[in-house]
Symmetry: C2
Subunit: 226 residues, 2 copies
DNA sequence: GGAGCATTCAAACATTCACTTGAATAGTCC
DNA sequence: GGACTATTCAAGTGAATGTTTGAATGCTCC
């Protein structure tokens, strides 16, 4: 079979995509870039690596076509190459959650005990927002809110939440969301709110998944609250 | 941030899934197992590797949870762990096709010139089968047909096709399908048929995608032809 | 043009990886 | 039990990978 070498080359091509995701650090980068573009320095500090090392990871991903770049001044902003890349990342997470034996304990070690945390699915949230019996808090850092958020949500980064809890109305249940299913911000917010006597739950995943599934999104200015 | 080490460990966990797919040989294995379970020996010969090496690849995939095993006699059959794994593989292929610069030339090198090949989407095929103006040929090896095929398709492996072309009715267009979008069997069949004066096209992807998207499937015996 | 910044490059290191070879296991069939 | 088969294990090799360190590049702003 003389196609052997061509077939191997083709599948090595597919493998370049998975190789670009096959390091924990690069996975963190994809997860981060799902929130929007970032400079190399921001990415490096977020994943806890040196700038040089981060740059090399980014370049591998760039060669594989997973990310793109935009220059602004002397800063270079990286972003995911397209919606399909997010689909791929979601598929990876799903398969890991479903089939990787030790994932549960890894997640528990990072996220802590989630058993007291109520979660709400996207469909449920849509429903309850329509009925108006829920306050939706975006607990990510404010720039991420500005780059895009659930239509009708209020920006309330964690540190701000702790200072201004009293401002949050207590008559309705609060739903917090953040970057995704493995992001700790919303967990933290829900625990804080529960401690203060609120009824609170977290969205089961985060903003990228909300947006990807075609739900209503806003960006730019702050939205009308409550 | 003391969570750093736990977060890294979690994402290293996700990366174990992509690592399990990050070799061309293992990608070929996933693509093959999408057709159904296979013994180690069958897999080894299909991907052109030694049995020992193939076994080690399979064990990596097993540890990552991508595949499962079943023992029958002293043979061990490997199969994909679940539908989500196929979703993941499809996502990898899609991202590669969309974003990996050199994929086109790799595909062309393996598949040859596809410009004269008509393709039919799944939706179109459903439509045309309903109207009854099309003959659907499954040109994979016969055991794969037996394990599951498009409802209403006729088994016609390539070598058989070359011997029995005359038996194929000429009044309707012929649509051939095989293992997937990067499988050469259907291309080959369409070319053969075109040379003999048939109107022929290939399904744009293959049986696993058909089945995964919930289209009607049969297995076991041969289906009533034409 | 020169200082200052963000990013990339280059070299070096220990580690991991894919594949080979040859031996060891675990099952079947008589 | 013993011959046989399919699969796995173990050790070894050369290549690729992730990270660090320090220098080089390319851009902006004065």
């Amino acid at each position: 079979m003389s196609d052997r070498v061509a077939k191997d080359a083709l599948f090595d091509g597919f493998a370049r995509i998975t190789k670009a995701l096959s390091s924990g650090r690069r996975s963190e980068i994809v997860d981060l870039l799902a929130q929007g573009e970032r400079s190399v320095e921001e990415i490096a500090s977020e994943i806890g690596q040196s700038v040089a090392n981060t740059s090399q990871h980014l370049q591998q991903m760039l060669k594989a076509g997973l990310v793109g770049t935009r220059r602004d001044g002397n800063r270079i902003y990286y972003s995911l190459a397209g919606g399909r890349v997010l689909d791929l990342w979601v598929a990876v997470r799903d398969v890991a959650a479903e089939h990787l034996a030790e994932l549960d304990s890894l997640a528990a070690a990072y996220l802590g005990d989630r058993s007291t945390l109520q979660t709400v699915s996207r469909a449920e949230l849509v429903d309850r927002m329509r009925r108006g019996d829920v306050v939706v808090l975006d607990v990510r850092p404010e720039p991420e809110f500005r780059a895009g958020h659930i239509a009708g949500a209020v920006s309330m980064p964690l540190d701000e939440l702790r200072r201004k809890v009293r401002g949050v109305p207590k008559d309705r249940e609060v739903v917090a969301y953040c970057r995704g299913p493995y992001c700790v911000y919303a967990d933290d917010a829900v625990r804080t709110l529960q401690r203060r006597g609120y009824r609170a739950a977290r969205l089961e995943d985060g903003f990228p998944e909300w947006s990807r599934s075609g739900h209503p999104v806003e960006n730019g200015v702050d939205s009308p609250a409550s």
